[in-house]
């Protein structure tokens, strides 16, 4: 299992760099690590709004919300989400929030 080390913390990740243990291993350092990877200058309230909504939805539903629902819940159109997270809602936002990758016909 690949691992990444950041500011003294060791994270187990999957092949695409998603947090293996999910929300259980999620912490401030992880957020900073993904921020750096994503090349995000500064985390704003808007970033945190997306992260919080993703985590709340995941805790309730066991899956990440589909993009359209994420847009509705945050009030951000998809374009805006890409501005916030350059790799997009999955590989950017979900990764930072500690959610797993989606599966199936998606």
């Amino acid at each position: 299992m690949p691992t990444v080390e950041y500011k003294g913390k060791v994270f187990e990740v999957d092949e695409d760099g998603f947090l293996q243990a999910g929300l259980d291993a999620w912490c401030q350092e992880w957020v900073e690590y993904v921020k750096e990877q994503e090349g995000i200058q500064e985390l704003t309230e808007e970033h945190w709004k997306v992260i919080n909504i993703l985590q709340d939805y995941y805790k309730k539903n066991g899956v990440a919300p589909m993009v359209r629902i994420l847009s509705k819940l945050t009030g951000f159109p998809l374009k805006k989400i890409y501005e916030l997270f350059p790799s997009g809602p999955g590989k950017g936002a979900c990764k930072m929030a500690g959610l797993p990758k989606p599966t199936g016909c998606v």
Binding site: M1, D14, E15, D16, K60, N61, G62, V63, M66, V67, R68, I69, K72, P102, T103, G104, C105, V106
Partner: protein, 537 residues
């Protein structure tokens, strides 16, 4: 590794070059973008299947069990005895090569091991080497080779570089079905604990939750209510969706991609609009919430198990018959495996359209029909009120999704529907449609991101045909009846033919249906302005 640019990707593909080495001497190279990740061990453990622990295909040494050779030999022998198809396909190939240039992966890579004839030879040579005394004596001259760890790596690489689309079998004079060979080879690898993550996680989800994505009942209901709210906003009509309704006439089983992923969700809205328009007595199950069957891409026993839950649910809900959504491989399972596994179903009725009275005799064993047959029958009887001009912003071509096309012979119904709900329908070239349709390049559980280079290569022939009609006729929509298609075509089109959107057939049906009491529509189901209504939106 970054994906090469479209004009660079196929630069080195030469379909006429013979490699300088004998094929048996060429070792498999695992380059990023050309293979899928190995399955996470916990997935296999949860399902009670053998696993190799944590490993990846690019590892130099694979952690095969000590007795791996014995396992493989037994696995081959069992299948040679059990499946006459497999034994026959191993025996009868005359190496005529008619299949060679019919495979989309060969056309996109130029790799001879992607010629279906050689793909099958990867196992045929081992059968000879392990089980034939004559071939053991003469070795390579008799087409035999020994079973080594490199052979296992090669099998993994090439049997997960076949999408089980069966285009090659259309051209084979003997009817050799390479998909059957691939299915059996993936099973054999499974016995060693070798599988891919992307094809197995959906199996676990479907097994424990009911669909590939892992959507639980409350989430499914909530998502569909979101879609219903969008329909109301667009049409002004509020639709009720029945969930788990006992005693409903029809159980509708869609692929989960249609109520989770873009652009499948628009197709789902189309289904809901149609059912509402008809006043259909149907129900959606939050348990049998998946028509697709990723078990089929791994192991027949897994497929059989996942298939069964749909009938269990039909029995529990006491419905009369089952209606299936626009899903691809589901129809191969239903048409070509169901009866062998379970025989005719006796607790349901032969599907009969409550609107037209048409009895679907051909489904008298399985008791399930495809939504396109259902809708085509409605249109033929003039039972749906349609305004095709609401799709005038669409110039559509139809991709025959491999399994409904080649496994069902399902060619006319989707076209019949499209021609009635759209005013602009165009065919792609003759050798790329109907039974000769080209695969999306990502089917059979290979629709994963890490496989993107190979997906773009394998999808090239299809994209090339789309490009032709895009340039010649201005085609801007590619319609298909498979959820994997809808999931992977957007990436393929974006790469090869930007400017072509992907949709299901019923999305366009939903746009065209004129509902009772609806308001004047200004947008389609994607909130795009209708032709002539650009100013109003």
């Amino acid at each position: 590794m970054a994906l090469p640019k479209p004009d660079e990707l196929l630069q080195n593909v030469n379909l006429n070059r013979t490699p300088s080495q004998h094929w048996m001497d060429i070792k498999t190279e695992f380059k990023p973008g050309t293979y899928c990740y190995a399955v996470e061990p916990q997935v296999m453990k949860d399902l009670g299947l053998p696993n190799l622990g944590s490993w990846q295909p690019h590892d130099e040494k694979w952690p095969l069990p000590e007795n791996w050779k014995e396992i493989v030999r037994d696995a081959i022998k069992t299948r040679m005895e059990r499946f006459r198809s497999f034994k026959l396909f191993m025996d009868i190939c005359v190496r005529c090569g008619a299949c060679a240039d019919k495979c989309h992966f060969f056309l996109g890579t130029g790799d001879p091991k992607n010629m279906p004839v050689l793909r099958a030879e990867l196992i045929r040579s081992i059968i000879k080497g392990e089980f034939s005394t004559f071939a053991k004596l003469f070795g390579r001259f008799a087409g035999a080779r020994p079973l080594t760890e490199d052979v296992i790596k090669e099998w993994f690489f090439y049997f997960y570089q076949c999408t089980e689309c069966r285009r090659c079998s259309v051209f084979c004079p003997y009817g050799i079905d390479t998909a059957e060979v691939t299915i059996i080879m993936r099973e054999i690898l499974h016995e060693l604990g070798i599988a891919i993550d992307w094809a197995m996680k959906p199996v676990r989800f479907s097994h424990f939750i009911g669909n590939h994505i892992g959507i639980q009942p409350h989430t499914m209901k909530e998502i569909i209510e979101y879609l219903v709210a969008d329909i109301e906003e667009i049409t002004g009509v509020k639709i009720e969706v029945p969930f788990n309704k006992k005693g409903a006439e029809i159980l509708f089983v869609p692929p989960s991609g249609d109520y989770f992923a873009d652009p499948g969700i628009y197709n789902f809205m189309g289904y809901l609009i149609l059912f509402h328009h008809l006043g259909l007595d149907y129900t959606i199950s939050t348990y049998a919430s998946e028509s697709g069957n990723f078990g089929f891409f791994n192991k027949l026993e897994l497929a059989k198990k996942l298939h069964a839950k749909i009938y269990e649910e039909a029995k529990r809900l006491k419905v009369k018959w089952i209606l299936g959504g626009e899903c691809g491989h589901m129809w191969r399972v239903w048409h070509q495996y169901h009866n062998t596994w379970y025989g005719p179903v006796n607790f349901l009725e032969v599907p009969k359209s409550p609107i037209t009275g048409t009895v679907f005799e051909h489904a008298k064993d399985n008791k399930i029909i495809h939504i396109c047959e259902f809708t085509a029958d409605l249109i033929a009887h003039n039972k749906i009120k349609l305004d095709p001009s609401r799709n005038d912003h669409v110039i559509v071509t139809y991709h025959d999704s491999c399994n409904p096309a080649r496994a069902m012979g399902f060619f006319e119904e989707p076209r019949f529907i499209l021609k009635h709900v759209c005013n602009n329908f165009v065919e792609m070239p003759e050798n790329t449609i109907r039974e000769k349709t080209f695969c999306c390049g990502s089917g059979s559980g290979l629709n994963t991101d890490e496989y993107m280079e190979m997906r773009m290569r394998g999808g090239f022939p299809r994209a090339n045909a789309v490009e032709y009609v895009h340039k010649k006729y201005g085609v801007n929509h590619l319609a298909c009846i498979c959820a994997i298609d809808r999931a992977v075509f957007p990436a393929l089109m974006n790469y090869w033919v930007p400017g072509v959107d992907v949709c299901g057939v019923h999305e366009l049906v939903g746009n065209a249906i004129v509902l009772d009491g609806e308001k004047e529509r200004t947008t389609d189901l994607r909130y795009r302005p209708l032709k002539g209504k650009e100013e109003e939106v």
